[in-house]
Symmetry: C2
Subunit: 322 residues, 2 copies
């Protein structure tokens, strides 16, 4: 069984080349796409299909096409996300909208989707995989849509209460769906006919990844100005949604008020207060328990044997706080 | 042979239903999608495949899936366009970004693409059609990208000179590619193996449609405040690109300066002046000749016999000025 590092060493370069092939001869779109991809990334969604197929005893071109497609889909969402969230930097580099304007960022995100489609229409990619990918992407967009609805004031007719149920639906779409499709797609490449368990495992690990990222924002040791930045941005994270749904009224109401305060009006004192509310309201502890329980549950499924160390890898950034 | 009106009468409702089926159970995305589609539209890209297949003696489910897909792709681009161009109204109704904000407009445009993909993955849709559609959409996005590059000042490293060559490349992507794929897709549904001529005819009629729209902006009789609005917006239309490429320096330089003036600084007197420059520089006459020649050329190809009256229909809004 290969480790993620071994899989990455073997396929990182072919994966980059396959993505570049899909972007080729697209003029300025290609230039922007290469700039964006060069900001970095571990290419997890691209490598997982290759890694899984290899550890199931397979090989071949199809998994490379599938991995490249999922990685391109993902990067399309990143380019659009940066614009939607008004983020000016991605891994220290100006984001596409910041560098070339919002219209070109919309165009590049769109283009990544069609570059991805093209990879999926390669010979050897199993029938039905493009449908699986398209439905997953519709679910990703649905999750993004719900995320913005959860940030609206309750008086807005489009608002959705920021409960833990909404969070789960949102994250299952936004982060779970594409991981689910990565796993399902890889299984299809290996000729597996009943892929439900692969899809479910992928969705669950996507959720784990999301909740880990939320937890990291609160317990990360990257310096004080980083901790709690999601709170300032008004993000409805797992700890926030859990606390709003389960803590006594005085805690949940105040927490919601802080999270809903516009970024520019959110003082450091308010972030400190929100951190205390998450602690007192049980949200921090609940998040920790979620991560411990879900990682155990994921590891107990036989599929996890094909991706040795994957669950641990996802939890590594927050391992010190578990 | 059915006319467009007869085709529209027969398939408009099934087409709307097929699109709605693809959007079903997508929560708030479905709500926004229905709102957007209800602002209107003639569904030309959706009906053309159905119309062409019927007049070639075919029928069946596949053309409905294909028509719905192309119409959904097109509407995804419209939702993104409105945001990119800062347009607040579409056929008198607030645009998606105006009503629900830019992030949700990005999401809805994205979602339309994946609803379209889903239609193309229906049983009975010919192999290879999804690839044709995906490549066409990449070309559409490429055209949009080029359009923004042509509006940049020459000092910007990403700028592209607003010449007639750039215009042709831009419009062949932005408007031609999807019409080309509509025709090619319909031919594939009918089992045609050599589809190049269908694609080429579709691209050419897409260009005709674009140039007609550009001409209409100058010769439309919908009241003074409408004529020349593209000039105020800085759009590089066919008449503008032609004049910049072919007119004497004093005319082309001044025209380019007016077109590049920000919308808010463009006075009515400047628009009047630009109209005169287009007249004096030959751009108006060249556009008229283009429309006359291209429509003759399109009508002379046997494919046009399957779509009776289509070319005339496209030219109808500007017929009074030809």
């Amino acid at each position: 069984m290969l480790s993620f590092e071994q899989a990455s060493e073997r396929w990182r370069e072919p994966l980059e080349n396959r993505m570049k092939e899909a972007m080729k001869d697209h003029g300025f779109l290609e230039e922007m796409a290469i700039y964006h991809l060069e900001t970095g990334g571990k290419r997890v969604r691209g490598l997982v299909p290759l890694w899984l197929v290899a550890n199931m005893g397979g090989s071949g071109r199809a998994a490379l096409d599938v991995g490249a497609a999922f990685e391109l889909f993902h990067n399309g969402t990143l380019v659009h996300d940066d614009l939607q969230d008004d983020d000016e930097l991605r891994r220290g580099q100006p984001t596409i909208w910041k560098r070339w304007g919002a219209p070109q960022a919309i165009n590049l995100g769109d283009a990544f989707y069609f570059f991805a489609t093209d990879c999926l229409e390669s010979p050897g990619v199993p029938d039905g995989l493009a449908k699986v990918a398209g439905r997953a992407m519709a679910a990703v967009v649905g999750g993004q849509t719900l995320e913005f609805q959860m940030q609206l004031p309750a008086s807005d007719p489009a608002s959705v209460p920021p409960s833990i149920d909404s969070f789960n639906r949102m994250a299952r779409g936004k982060t779970g769906a594409l991981f689910g499709a990565c796993m399902e797609g890889a299984a299809m490449c290996q000729g597996v006919r009943e892929t439900t368990s692969f899809k479910a495992w992928g969705e669950q690990i996507g959720l784990l990844f999301q909740v880990q990222d939320d937890y990291l924002d609160l317990v990360g040791d990257k310096g004080r100005e980083r901790a709690g930045s999601d709170l300032a941005e008004g993000k409805i994270s797992y700890p926030v949604a859990w606390t709003i749904s389960h803590a006594p009224n005085n805690i949940s109401t105040r927490l919601e008020a802080i999270v809903r305060t516009p970024r520019r009006d959110t003082s450091n004192a308010m972030i400190d207060e929100a951190m205390e509310l998450l602690e007192k309201g049980g949200g921090l502890e609940a998040t920790k328990q979620y991560l411990l329980n879900e990682s155990k549950s994921l590891s107990s499924v036989s599929i996890s044997g094909y991706l040795p160390g994957f669950v641990e890898r996802i939890l590594k950034p927050v391992a010190h706080a578990l």
